[in-house]
């Protein structure tokens, strides 16, 4: 870039002007506040659409369908919004922690762990179905699948942390995550081999689902958002500092290993909850923060919040499309997020190639 005109430089040197607030810095889209408003509006619009998208296509006759709406469509739409928010938030944390714009929340073994948990419960349900009472097995399966996915995700991430001996070195952490992911996936495949009934259930889980979100699920997801988002935003300056590099951030007096551990824990909580309820939905955690970062220039505090909002909008849009494209049949929501996400990355690729 050209150097500043000497006269301007002199003026700048003589009277240090107030530095523009980052909030007023503009990216391609405008200010972060502008983006937040746009995303919030999109979320509201999609929620309305979500209440109208049913098995008979679009219907705004909410009076007659009141029961269906309150029992099925409303919690399903809210749930998709909240699960997407958790995934977007986790993705933003992952991308900041690993200083990699293509990181996603499943990097640290959470996806493989959740998959293994689900498979174990399905296999056990098949085996125990004979000995336990049927109602008990049913209840165990319902609760157990969610609990197992959540527990599995946490166990996967804990294993990664143990293997990497803490969150001190990001490269080691990443490698450990890959190792744990491979191991747990192999274990899960082994269980499926021994107990093939678990395969169908696992396929369903892998593709992602919002069909059975009830109000209890919404409550759990909302609780996770309320817990994780503010804490993550408080810690977000760590991610800003990491922009300088490991050593420079440490020279600022920050206890990096502990802060990273806290952020990984928050990521585990958010990812585990989302995956337990919605299955392994692809791409939301990757695309939402990536997109926000392209649209606005902002610090990580606002980035986390905006990524959550963007992730929610993305998953809700995918869910509505999944329900309405071939109604009364449904597409697995994971297929649609992959299409949206893949399409966005394809666009990026073409832009890069065009330069």
């Amino acid at each position: 870039m050209n150097q500043a005109h000497p006269a301007r430089k002199a003026a700048a040197a003589a009277a240090p002007a107030a530095v523009p607030q980052a909030g007023r810095a503009t990216g391609r889209f405008g200010t972060p506040l502008g983006l937040a408003a746009a995303l919030a509006a999109a979320a509201l619009l999609l929620l309305v659409l979500g209440l109208a998208a049913g098995s008979q296509g679009w219907s705004f006759a909410w009076g007659e369908d009141a029961e269906l709406i309150t029992a099925i469509r409303a919690p399903r739409s809210m749930g998709a919004l909240l699960a997407g928010a958790l995934l977007g938030l986790s993705g933003a944390i992952a991308q900041g922690l690993f200083r990699n714009p293509l990181a996603d929340p499943y990097l640290l073994g959470s996806a493989a762990g959740a998959g293994l948990g689900v498979v174990l419960v399905l296999a056990a349900g098949g085996l125990l179905g004979a000995s336990l009472g049927l109602a008990a097995t049913g209840a165990l399966l319902r609760l157990g699948l969610v609990g197992a996915a959540f527990g599995g995700a946490l166990v996967g991430m804990a294993l990664t942390l143990v293997l990497a001996r803490g969150a001190g070195r990001p490269m080691v952490l990443l490698l450990a995550g890959v190792v744990v992911g491979v191991l747990l996936t192999a274990l899960s495949d082994l269980v499926i081999l021994l107990s093939p009934e678990a395969l169908r259930g696992k396929q369903v889980f892998l593709l992602g689902t919002t069909s059975f979100f009830g109000w209890p699920s919404v409550a759990v997801l909302a609780a996770a958002v309320v817990l994780v988002l503010p804490l993550a935003m408080k810690l977000s300056r760590t991610l800003d500092a990491l922009v300088l590099g490991e050593a420079s951030a440490a020279s600022l007096g920050l206890p990096l290993p502990r802060l990273r551990l806290a952020l990984v824990a928050l990521m585990a909580l958010a990812t585990g909850t989302a995956v337990a309820q919605a299955g392994l939905v692809a791409f939301v955690g990757l695309v939402a923060p990536h997109l926000v970062r392209r649209l606005v220039v902002t610090r990580h505090g606002a980035l986390l919040a905006l990524s959550a909002l963007a992730g929610g909008v993305l998953l809700l849009a995918a869910d509505i499309a999944a329900r309405s494209m071939i109604a009364p049949q449904e597409l697995p929501v994971g297929v649609l997020t992959a299409v949206f996400g893949g399409g966005y990355l394809l666009l990026l690729l073409r832009q890069r190639l065009a330069r």
Binding site: M1, Q3, A4, R8, K9, A12, A13, P16, A17, A18, V19, P20, Q21, A22, R24, A25, T26, G27, R99, P101, K234, L235, R237, T238, D240, A241, L242, V243, L244, G245, E246, A247, S248, A250, S251, L252, G253, L254, P255, L259, R293, V297, T298, R299, H300
Partner: protein, 263 residues
């Protein structure tokens, strides 16, 4: 090596072994407030490593570092960060946040991770950016800046800390001549106001403008003195294999020492 009231940073017998050899070999030095010290030496002499040891980013195998009379290890991390700023040689900074927000990171030691910045922080940030002529791209992403612009922003971050001790590793990287000059003026100004500035420089002529020059070779400190000191100049020439000679020339601003490449 007498410790006096203005000695801000003191190293005694620092040794570090890396990969079987001594990267830093029994180095002792002290940095006093009010002076700008240049550290020079051939590639691989251990300059960056020494700086990292002084900043507390690595642990020495032997010897000690004292900051304001107290062992470096004994300082709580945040208070140490308030008194000692370090600028990395590598350009490993990488991110999409705005340049101004990068500079604001320099104030983290003062208000802490959970504290709120106040007016004094904004003033310090603005001043640092003005000093490094980076105010004009305050709102642009770090990754979108050119090499020289990035370096100025990172420098501003280090200056914004406002610490009494400044350890800068190759601060002139990517900077063109006018900006190098501006930087050196800035460092001298800070030194005059009481700071202790130690900067690794690869350009010997720039180094000869400093108050004191430290010469390193193969991990050892082979010379420590003012440019006016003949012994220092001789050591300097020797260490670089007599690839240049040090001459005194008359410049518009007065007599100056310069390194003339021997062709």
């Amino acid at each position: 090596m007498k410790a006096d009231a203005t000695t801000l940073l003191q190293a005694g017998g620092l040794t570090l072994r890396l990969g079987g050899r001594r990267a830093v070999d029994a180095v002792s030095l002290d940095l006093r407030g009010g002076e700008w010290v240049a550290l020079v030496g051939p590639n691989g002499a251990g300059k960056s490593t020494l700086l990292q040891l002084l900043a507390g980013l690595r642990h020495a195998d032997g010897g000690s570092v004292r900051l304001a009379g107290r062992a470096l290890q004994a300082w709580p991390a945040r208070e140490r960060a308030q008194r000692l700023a370090w600028l990395s040689q590598q350009g490993e900074a990488d991110g999409d946040i705005a340049a101004a927000d990068v500079v604001r990171l320099g104030r983290l030691p003062r208000h802490g991770l959970f504290g709120a910045p106040d007016a004094s922080d904004e003033v310090a940030v603005a001043a640092a950016m003005a000093e490094t002529a980076s105010t004009e791209f305050a709102g642009r992403r770090l990754n979108e800046l050119s090499g020289g612009e990035r370096q100025r922003v990172l420098l501003a971050r280090a200056l914004a800390v406002g610490s009494p001790v400044l350890l800068l590793d190759e601060p002139t990287t990517h900077l063109d001549a006018p900006h190098q000059r501006a930087l050196l003026r800035s460092l001298v100004a800070r030194a005059r106001c009481g700071a202790a500035v130690l900067s690794v420089l690869h350009d010997v002529t720039l180094a000869l403008a400093a108050d004191r020059v430290l010469v390193m070779d193969q991990g050892r400190l082979v010379a420590d003195g003012a440019p006016a000191d003949a012994a220092l100049r001789a050591a300097l020439v020797a260490v670089f294999g007599a690839s240049f000679s040090v001459e005194c020339v008359n410049s518009p601003t007065g007599p100056r020492w310069v390194a003339l490449p021997a062709l």
